[in-house]
């Protein structure tokens, strides 16, 4: 018994010791692991704990404002009040889904007495509250009015779980009136995601068109960061701003918004565009294109139908016709032809050409717009009356290449790089161009057609405005500009780049045209608006110091059939809108000391003198009154203070602008805006050449 107990005790002791040893080993493993985790690997885990704990939150910078030449804000950021609901504040004691819905419904009912809610919004809130974590606010409605926001704030004690927060949204105070110029902002698309982490912020918007797009980097600014301490569920415990967001730069434009506003109103109702430019600096003072769109709608996002309407509209409201509309310049091109011929020495200012109403070349008959012909024409008369036969003859003598060269010196058919997306180059044909692109040799008939700005020749209203500016400023190669700022940042950022590129650092180079020749052409343009037989004589400004010199242009959209020519049945008003002629007018003023050039194109407007000249005159009147190149706002004469004759014209212009903008949208009924009068609209004669595109 004793022996047995002894054996058993020995065995017990030995095995207990082994067990103890085993336990020591295990404890040693624990200590070793503890050492490994807490000492050896500690730094790694410390970093991971910090990463767990802190989220870097990006603070969006306020977008830079776009202002006009006098600092008038054109694109600003507006407070956007948003009402949200935080689920956990009202659902704390809720047990079932029914109770939840009832509780939410109750709150929404109370809210809808203050701010109306759609059924759709209500359903969405219910749905999102079910899905989201309790502390995540669910947006009920955005863009509250100030009154709604205020009364929600006042009633907050009765609205449990309701919070109001504010953000910034882009706002364009002038809406459609500067839409093409400014463009719009919209959400970042997948392809646009780049290095800038700002782009990944939900709700962040970038410029998609116009100045907003070109100057996006400048306007965007730099995001700030804040360190947000969060718990495992993502609830924010604490937030510290470590770097303030740097707002985007202000982008000043050369535009005078008052003029832009006026031009837009005056063009409203037509599918038209106009450009007003400072002939000495190239600063664009107004660039209007109608119809337009409301850029504010783009900020919030368009519905499918809204988008379809914009895209399908035959008047293409999305297109900036001032830079993207390519039209045959028609008779407005005749100055260039005249200068090419004068410079080439193929005609003299006072040399005459007889116009019998048509001319013949290679068996083809080229008609003048005036059926009976103009008779004997010198340069001034030919421009004033827009005689086609004179320019057929001049072009024939001059040859296409000289015309082409001259046109390019004046900016026609050339990219002017005004700094807006969508600018198109137009087209100035030459022999080499035709061989290269069409593989055919140039016909002399085509030179004749080009001589009256038809055929292959295409130009944009901007190019025509620049052309007139270069004529009026004595042949200086001014470049059209929309902003003194460069769209890409300099070494020290945008302000640096801005300071480094003054608008007129040095005078623009000459395009090398003799002043006497320019004067001859200007004389012709003066006669257009002031001469007794000028095609736009009824739309001149017959007041000293305000006189304008211009040139009409009418370009046909379709061919005139022989039958129509024979019967003479061709009333523009009888044609469907899309087949009517484009009406163009270019001008500068004041004649004695030119400062402003203007080009305008009314698509399918009918005739240059009847549809374009009066609008151009009104816009030029307002330009001269405001005189934005020299006068600051407030310095301009009031309409009432003008001499009576001028005052009458100005009041008529303003009345028309108000009227057209009032009947905004559909084309104004004929007769309401323009006197119905059989005008001397030169209708460009169809060149009877095979294969001539129109």
């Amino acid at each position: 018994m004793k022996q047995r107990d002894g054996d058993r005790a020995k065995m017990f002791t030995r095995r207990a010791a082994l067990l103890g040893g085993f336990q020591i080993t295990l404890v040693g493993a624990l200590v070793g692991r503890m050492y490994y985790l807490q000492v050896v690997e500690s730094d790694r885990y410390k970093t991971m704990a910090e990463e767990n704990r802190f989220n870097l939150r990006l603070l969006p910078p306020p977008r830079g404002e776009i202002v006009d030449r006098f600092g008038m804000p054109l694109a600003v950021n507006r407070q956007n009040y948003r009402v949200s609901i935080i689920g956990e504040d009202i659902l704390r004691h809720v047990r079932s889904a029914e109770e939840r819905e009832a509780a939410v419904s109750h709150t929404l009912d109370a809210l809808s007495r203050i701010a109306p809610l759609s059924e759709y919004d209500r359903a969405r809130v219910q749905r999102e509250l079910k899905r989201r974590r309790g502390f995540v606010p669910v947006t009920i409605r955005e863009n509250l009015t100030w009154e709604e926001m205020a009364s929600i704030q006042v009633n907050k004690p009765d609205l449990p779980g309701i919070t109001i927060d504010e953000g910034l949204t882009r706002f364009y105070p002038f809406g459609e009136k500067a839409a093409h110029l400014l463009g719009y902002v919209s959400s970042v698309s997948e392809e646009e995601l780049g290095d800038d982490p700002l782009l990944e912020l939900p709700g962040f918007r970038i410029g998609k068109q116009g100045i907003e797009k070109v100057y996006d980097l400048a306007l965007r600014g730099h995001g700030g960061t804040s360190r947000v301490e969060v718990n495992a569920l993502g609830r924010v415990i604490d937030e510290q701003t470590t770097e303030e967001a740097r707002p985007g730069a202000e982008v000043p434009l050369t535009i005078d918004m008052r003029l832009q506003d006026f031009a837009s109103k005056r063009l409203a109702g037509e599918s038209a565009s106009a450009v007003v430019i400072d002939i000495h600096t190239g600063a664009i003072l107004a660039m209007a294109s109608m119809p337009a769109f409301d850029p504010n709608v783009f900020t919030r996002g368009l519905s499918n139908n809204e988008w379809k309407d914009l895209v399908r509209n035959p008047r293409s409201p999305l297109s900036n016709k001032a830079i993207a509309g390519q039209y045959s310049p028609g008779s407005t091109f005749k100055m260039v032809v005249a200068l090419a011929a004068l410079e080439g020495g193929v005609i003299q200012e006072n040399q005459t050409v007889f116009c019998p109403g048509h001319t013949e070349l290679g068996g083809h008959r080229f008609h003048c717009w005036k059926r009976g012909g103009h008779g004997t024409m010198n340069l001034e008369n030919a421009l004033a009356q827009s005689c086609d036969v004179y320019f057929y003859e001049v072009a024939k003598r001059c040859g296409i290449d000289r015309i082409s060269d001259m046109a390019k010196r004046f900016g026609v058919g050339e990219m002017l790089n005004v700094g807006l997306p969508g600018e198109r180059p137009g087209l100035m044909p030459s022999r080499a161009w035709k061989t290269a692109t069409l593989g055919e040799s140039w016909h002399q008939g085509e030179t004749l057609v080009a001589g009256i700005g038809q055929g292959y020749v295409l130009s944009t209203p901007l190019q025509l405005a620049v052309m007139v500016a270069r004529i009026a400023n004595g042949g200086l190669k001014v470049e059209p500009t929309l902003s003194r700022m460069t769209p890409t940042p300099g070494e020290q950022g945008f302000l640096d780049a801005n300071a480094a590129s003054p608008l007129l650092a040095k005078p623009p180079p000459s395009i090398g045209v003799t002043k006497a020749h320019l004067d001859a052409v200007r004389g012709g343009m003066f006669a257009v608006s002031n001469g007794p037989r000028g095609t736009a004589r009824r739309y001149g400004i017959p007041i000293e110091g305000w006189r304008l010199s211009g040139k009409t242009g009418t370009t046909q959209v379709r061919r005139i059939s022989m039958r129509e020519r024979e019967t003479g049945i061709r009333r523009e008003e009888d044609l469907p809108w899309e087949l009517r002629n484009h009406a163009l007018f270019v001008c500068y003023a004041p004649e004695d000391a030119p400062r402003y050039a203007l080009a305008i194109c009314v698509e399918h407007g009918g005739g240059g003198s009847s549809a374009a000249a009066p609008v151009a005159r009104d816009i030029m009147l307002e330009t001269l009154r405001l005189d934005p190149a020299r006068k600051r706002p407030g310095e301009e004469p009031r309409v009432e203070d003008l001499p009576p004759e001028l005052r009458a014209l100005m009041e008529e212009a303003h009345a028309k602008a108000e009227m057209t903008s009032a009947v905004y949208g559909p084309p104004a009924p004929p007769g309401l805006l323009e006197e119905e009068e059989d005008d001397e609209d030169e209708t460009t004669i169809p060149p009877n050449l095979e294969g001539t595109p129109l």
Binding site: F12, R33, A49
Partner: protein
């Protein structure tokens, strides 16, 4: 005649002690260490609730107070009572386990609880003690020759396998393994031959592929995640990864009391129960962890010391069984939160929030103290005074 010290009086050997004498015999230093550990636990629960006694610390304190009272009651009860009723307790626990199986409340994805009205009892916890008592009683009278008889080992194997299977079915892998390991330790101590262990271990390993089929999805996940923690960093691997981050970021000296970011920002799961060691090591660093581990080691040393001071096999086996169970709690919990073994829901003894585990542990220490108080008692093969 027992081996022993001549100062032991016959009266003491017969267990004829007054209450005062028994109280005098209680190892108050052990009780003190237990209280220190429990106090640390209350502090950690206070921190886990972000500096509040509610909801955990205060309730845990009450439970601890009740538990200490029960512990002393057990300690002062005549050890022969425990011997006599060992199988009865075992039987009761078995019945409760079956009851849980039949009509248990679903808790934590497993049927472990039985609602007693006042509190919810987890019979598998108490089974750990009942099994120790039953096995101690079974082997109390056995000598080496008995133990080497295979037929002698059949009843204890069943004693173990029945609750093991029931607990596994709940399913509670951690507790089941603890039952097996604790029983194994007792079998080891009584001298069961090595090849039998090898056989059982081999059989167990061979059964793993079969058992795998019966594992629940979440258990399979835990094992797979343990084998490859990066398998699913946001799913099953998330807890253990966050636990390691908490431990590691605590460093040598910790982030300070109530300053553990992982725990207080809720990255740490179950910080008041299974992962409370992580929180402690995050806030007090490796130093804090080592202090706690040392206290645990001291408790284990007490267990060994009491075992060796005990003159009867029953007491030795109970003491070692309890000590081993306690050690397993400590090791499994700490190893699991440090990513050494898969996550099996085993609480940190005396510290984790939870009633039954606290009760089990304090009853276990009660038994340990009981063994100490009655260390010199002479016990016959059937637990009577005279053989």
């Amino acid at each position: 005649m027992m081996l022993g010290n001549e100062f032991t009086s016959a009266r003491l050997r017969r267990g004829e002690m007054t209450l005062g004498e028994k109280l005098w015999q209680v190892s108050w230093s052990l009780v003190l260490v237990i209280m220190v550990v429990a106090a640390i636990g209350l502090g950690m629960l206070y921190s886990a609730a972000n500096g509040s006694w509610d909801p955990w610390a205060s309730r845990q304190a009450t439970r601890f107070a009740v538990g200490i009272a029960l512990m002393l009651t057990v300690a002062l009860t005549d050890i022969r009572f425990w011997m006599r009723y060992a199988y009865v307790f075992y039987g009761i626990m078995l019945v409760l386990l079956v009851a849980v199986e039949i009509k248990g409340t679903i808790g934590m994805g497993a049927q472990r609880w039985i609602d007693l009205g006042i509190f919810q009892l987890q019979p598998s916890e108490l089974m750990k003690l009942a099994l120790v008592l039953a096995l101690a009683r079974y082997f109390h009278g056995a000598d080496l020759e008995d133990v080497r008889r295979l037929s002698f080992l059949v009843p204890p194997i069943f004693l173990v396998l029945v609750p093991f299977g029931l607990v596994l079915r709940q399913p509670d892998l951690g507790t089941a393994l603890m039952l097996a390991a604790g029983s194994g330790a007792i079998a080891w101590l009584v001298g069961v031959r090595l090849w039998i262990f090898a056989l059982l271990l081999g059989g167990g390993l061979a059964a793993i592929p079969v058992a795998w089929q019966f594992l629940h999805g979440y258990q399979k996940n835990r094992v797979l995640t343990f084998l490859n923690p990066e398998r699913d960093p946001l799913g099953a691997g998330y807890h253990i990864l966050q636990s390691k981050i908490a431990l590691g970021s605590g460093g040598m000296f910790g982030k300070g009391f109530m300053a553990g970011t992982q725990a207080h920002l809720n990255f740490l799961p179950e910080k008041q129960t299974d992962f409370i060691f992580t929180m402690m090591a995050e806030e007090f660093g490796m130093v804090g962890g080592l202090v706690l581990l040392s206290l645990y080691v001291i408790l284990v040393i007490y267990g060994f010391a009491i075992t060796f001071r005990c003159r009867h096999q029953f007491g030795r086996l109970v003491a070692m069984g309890v000590t081993m169970t306690f050690f397993l709690y400590v090791f499994i919990n700490i190893a699991m939160v440090m990513g050494l073994i898969p996550v099996v829901g085993v609480p940190l003894p005396l510290i984790s929030y939870g009633g039954t585990a606290m009760l089990t542990l304090l009853l276990g220490f009660g038994l340990l103290l009981c063994v100490f108080v009655h260390r010199d008692i002479q016990m016959g093969r059937r637990g009577s005074y005279d053989d």
